[in-house]
């Protein structure tokens, strides 16, 4: 199990950027945006499953974070945790504004960059990884928004359960429970996808 843990050196670099931002350094704002916005976008996209809505959330969350940078307290947690709390809140607002439609598979697959996984050295391995990813992304659409939030924070962003509880503003046990429920739902959805694929293969 490889959960990407947050790099403490990265947190120190971000805190240094925040200090420069608070002194009015415009380049520090740009650097901070470049450092954290990809994570914000991935989180927003994983929850909303819609490119334009995720971009809107990035803009809203980053502007709010910049305006309230003085309110961020280092002692209370990592900057990313604070930022993800804002992002999840903005995602919930976006969902309220616009009822989430049934997302087409084509929309889900519209993710341009595809970093290579460590074991994707051969074309066959890359193809297999792509197949898993497609199945997983399709299965994600079957989850409720709360369960998508949990799975995106845990496995998309590598947060601990304690950090998840802070971001989701719920007890730690609730965060753990949501991950388990998401796991069960994903397994069921992926099994159904496998059955459909098998039926298609047998039809030839």
């Amino acid at each position: 199990m490889t959960v990407p843990l947050q790099n403490p050196y990265e947190q120190e670099a971000i805190e240094a950027l925040i200090e420069r931002c608070l002194k009015g350094d415009q380049q520090a704002y740009a650097a901070l945006y470049a450092a954290v916005s990809p994570g914000v976008y991935r989180l927003a996209y994983s929850i909303l499953l819609h490119k334009q809505d995720a971009e809107d959330v990035v803009q809203e969350a980053m502007v709010y974070a910049f305006r309230n940078l003085r309110r961020y307290e280092v002692v209370r947690g990592a900057f990313r945790t604070w930022l993800y709390t804002i992002t999840v809140s903005r995602c919930r607002n976006a969902r309220r504004r616009k009822w989430l439609p049934m997302t087409a598979l084509n929309n889900l697959l519209n993710t341009a960059i595809e970093p290579a996984a460590p074991d994707d050295h051969t074309p066959e391995a890359a193809l297999a990884r792509l197949g898993v990813r497609e199945a997983l992304e399709k299965a994600l659409t079957t989850l409720s928004p709360r369960l998508r939030e949990a799975i995106a924070l845990r496995y998309g962003q590598g947060l601990t359960y304690r950090e998840m509880a802070d971001v989701l503003e719920c007890p730690q046990k609730t965060a753990e429970s949501r991950v388990r429920l998401a796991h069960e739902a994903l397994r069921q959805a992926m099994a159904e996808t496998d059955n459909v694929l098998l039926e298609e293969l047998w039809s030839f």
Partner: protein, 179 residues
């Protein structure tokens, strides 16, 4: 083996068990092939999640750079809190006034609302009281006349004062200052 540990497998793969529970699971799957198979399936799903979820929603090259000017411009634009608060309070005030008006209309009822225009009667009464001091007090000592000129004894602000004046046929209206 009859005592399977299916309930513990998903929490185990998500690292949600205590140390004692983890050891229990490990001891059990060494002896139970069914639970071992179930554990393998769940571990594979978690491996797929860990490897695939970070790739979901990867931004395209330059996608977030294109957003930066809009973010910076919105951040640098001063927020107009005052107008927003003013708008909010105005709407709240109008709603409160409408509510108060509605409640008062329901509770008070139509009678007093209709009676209100007749409150102008004291002006007429004052003029009548001035006329009492004329040199010809004919009929002013009658009970009917006394009642009509005293505004405090009027039961209702109604045409009654006018009716009382109608009975005083000899009162003369004299312009002020022409005595």
């Amino acid at each position: 083996m009859s005592n399977h540990i299916h309930d513990l497998i998903v929490p185990y793969v998500h690292r949600q068990l205590s140390r004692a529970q983890r050891e229990l699971v490990l001891r059990h799957v060494r002896e139970c092939s069914e639970c071992y198979a179930a554990l393998s399936v769940e571990q594979q799903l978690v491996r797929d999640l860990a490897a695939t979820m970070p790739l979901v929603g990867q931004p395209a090259r330059g996608q977030l750079n294109r957003l930066w000017p809009a973010v910076w411009m919105e951040f640098r634009t001063p927020q107009n809190h005052g107008n927003r608060w003013l708008r909010s309070y105005s709407v709240a005030l109008v709603m409160l006034l409408m509510f108060a008006f509605g409640v008062s209309a329901v509770l008070v009822g139509p009678t007093q609302v209709i009676a209100a225009p007749f409150q102008a009667a004291p002006t007429q009464i004052k003029a009548t009281a001035t006329l009492i001091r004329t040199d010809e007090p004919v009929g002013l000592n009658t009970p009917e006349a006394s009642e009509t000129v005293n505004p405090l004894t009027l039961p209702m602000p109604s045409p009654a004062p006018m009716a009382g004046l109608a009975g005083i046929s000899q009162i003369r209206y004299m312009p002020m200052g022409n005595h």
